[in-house]
């Protein structure tokens, strides 16, 4: 078998071709994935038309499908999760990148965050169902609203815990990139730490922070299992913060195996297509911003 690996240009040619075709293959794979989703979504687009995005009811019985309830559900949970998580991730980033950079305690916090990032989403979902839901239920009873426990609020809180590591890791890195002399100059003028953060670090890392937030948003957008287990599985546009709802990812998880008609299945696939497009856009923008930051910085 070693024959073709012998010192001959033949071996090199084979190897190089292998490399090349692998790369082409990956490219084709990604293109194929996108095209498959598009083709399979066409029946749905033909059948539902604009109602798909602008209607208000998801009804498999009368075959009238609007994804709007899920778009809204996804948007609300993702944005809310972001809002809740940002104070935490920014604090942790500052803690790790600036305040106690390099110290022992920093390593422990970093370790904690890395572990949180590695927990599978199904376990978050299960934990959320067993622990978070009763807590929210108690809160709802206290507030005098129907104590469902599950719903948008619970899903958002759960999501926020899950996305903290993403923003943190990116922002922490860009904070470390702030030139030391800029900071020293500020300190020598008598600035407090807070002022250095506010006037030097934050403006300098602004685009990095935005990129980190975008990436977290993209993650929250596509999260499936954890959300499915605590969001309440209601296919309507949610009327309140504590209402049950569904996200685009969770409706696919719930209904894919039982989509009895071709249009139903095609519509679910078109939900997947929209998820794909949105996550591609968000990720592209995020990486573009980071790329520019590193080039400039």
């Amino acid at each position: 078998m070693y024959r073709f690996l012998k010192d001959r240009d033949g071996g090199d040619l084979i190897f190089k071709s292998l490399l090349f075709f692998s790369a082409i293959f990956i490219l084709l794979l990604i293109v194929a994935i996108t095209i498959t989703l598009i083709i399979q979504s066409i029946p749905s687009i033909k059948h539902n038309g604009l109602y798909l995005l602008f209607g208000d009811i998801w009804d498999p019985v009368s075959e009238k499908y609007s994804i709007l309830p899920f778009i809204i559900g996804t948007l609300i949970t993702s944005i809310l999760a972001l809002l809740i998580s940002i104070p935490f991730s920014l604090s942790a980033s500052l803690f790790l990148g600036e305040y106690l950079e390099g110290k022992r305690i920093s390593k422990i916090i970093k370790f904690t965050i890395d572990i949180l990032a590695g927990i599978p989403s199904i376990i978050y979902g299960f934990w959320g169902l067993m622990v978070l839901v009763p807590l929210v239920r108690a809160l709802e009873e206290f507030l005098g609203i129907p104590p469902l426990g599950i719903g948008i609020f619970t899903a958002s809180v759960l999501l926020s815990i899950m996305i903290i590591p993403y923003t943190t890791s990116i922002v922490r890195e860009v904070i470390k990139l702030v030139p030391q002399d800029l900071k020293e100059a500020a300190y020598s003028l008598g600035a407090t730490r807070f002022e250095v953060v506010r006037d030097i670090i934050i403006p300098y890392t602004k685009s990095g922070i935005i990129a980190g937030i975008l990436l977290s948003f993209g993650r929250a957008f596509g999260e499936t299992m954890a959300v499915t287990m605590v969001i309440g599985n209601a296919n309507y546009i949610p009327k309140s913060l504590f209402a049950p709802a569904n996200t685009m990812a969770s409706v696919i998880a719930n209904e894919f195996t039982e989509a009895t008609t071709d249009i139903y299945l095609s519509t679910l696939i078109s939900v997947g297509l929209i998820l794909l497009i949105i996550s591609l856009i968000i990720n592209s923008i995020g990486r573009y911003i980071i790329g520019r930051f590193y080039v400039r910085g």
Binding site: P60, P134, G149, G232, T257, E258
Partner: protein, 343 residues
């Protein structure tokens, strides 16, 4: 070393392909309604007949769909397939396996049992009755302290035969329901939370105070949940049980067993009862199915209709009546392979 590794991997792949190839193992999916019964039945069947049956409880909608896609050997469904669905595929048989009751379960801090009428149930699920101490409910439940709280409605989020039976009942007893919502495995619920599977609904009702939902009897019993006594067509308040379920089936049964038992006219029959079915293709030679698999399926079905029936009552499912059993066996007998009977 590299080739050693490749060799090992190849061996592993070959192993993974070959091991456990028992051509006669069966895959089914569908209704959550009979899942506790099926999981017991298949576990026992494995002990005596050494055939593994993998059943995933994904809801009747899923059972129908996967059978239509031919990714499973049989589908489980409490919903009767519509003529439209049947017209899309080669002939599919509905083989009944047992009877079950869809009970209206609730989570209330009361000791005695709740009585409900068809009108009340439809109005609750339509969102017209929103509080537990609504006059209509109080009137027939004199002596029970119903709380002045909102009713949280729980329904199925997935395609469900249990839903099909329940909404079939509601469509029969409420003109308003029939026009506004209709019946089916998935409907556009006016109000409420969705739970996945019977398990999901039971879980939600169990945990959310002042909630109401519909589940198969065994789920309420296993979870020690309360369920309502319901007024049937004859005017009697009937408690769901094995007996009242069986009574609901005491009627003329059609040969293809596609019959709805809801709103039964049997005097002491429970009004929200139904058969649960195993759906199979009558002609088993499709997609290069080996005859061994077809035989295996037929044997399983025959066992479920006969010896397997002894597992029904301990789990609070009603066994098939004599006439239902005979119809089932007849349907099984009509299964063919290449046109020839499999028996």
């Amino acid at each position: 070393m590299k080739f050693g590794l490749i060799g090992l991997l190849t061996a592993f792949i070959m192993l993974a392909f070959s091991m456990g190839i028992n051509a006669e193992d069966l895959i089914g999916a569908g209704a959550t309604f009979p899942y506790p019964l099926y999981s017991k039945m298949f576990s026992e069947y494995q002990k005596t007949n050494k055939i593994n049956v993998n059943y995933q409880s994904i809801g009747s909608g899923g059972g129908i769909k996967q059978l239509l896609e031919k990714t499973v050997d049989f589908g489980g469904s409490d919903a009767i397939m519509t003529d439209e669905q049947l017209s899309k595929a080669p002939k599919i048989l509905h083989i009944p396996t047992c009877l079950g009751a869809v009970v209206v379960t609730y989570n209330l801090p009361i000791k005695s049992e709740l009585k409900l009428t068809p009108e009340i149930i439809s109005d609750i699920f339509l969102g017209k009755i929103t509080k537990w101490n609504d006059p209509m409910i109080v009137e027939i439940n004199k002596g029970i302290a119903l709380p002045d709280k909102d009713i949280t409605v729980v329904h199925r989020s997935d395609g469900s035969g249990t839903t099909a039976i329940f909404t079939d009942y509601l469509s029969k007893v409420s003109e308003g329901w029939k026009n506004k919502v209709g019946k089916g495995t998935s409907v556009n619920w006016p109000v409420g939370l969705g739970g996945k599977g019977n398990e999901g609904v039971a879980g939600l009702v169990k945990q959310v105070p002042n909630s109401i939902g519909y589940v198969e009897l065994i789920y309420a019993i296993q979870n020690k949940m309360s369920y309502a006594t319901i007024k049937n067509r004859a005017g009697n308040f009937v408690k769901p049980s094995l007996e009242s379920t069986s009574k609901a089936a005491e009627t003329e049964l059609p040969d293809d067993m596609r019959i709805s038992l809801t709103d039964t006219d049997a005097a002491n029959g429970y009004p929200i009862s139904g058969f649960t079915y195993i759906l199979v293709y009558q002609e088993q030679n499709y997609d290069n199915r080996p005859i061994g698999k077809a035989k295996s399926l037929v044997n399983l079905l025959k066992w479920m209709a006969t010896d397997g029936q002894k597992f029904t009552t301990p789990l609070h499912y009603a066994p098939l009546s004599e006439s239902a059993k005979n119809k089932a066996l007849k349907l099984i007998k009509s299964m063919t392979y290449d046109g020839k009977s499999i028996e």
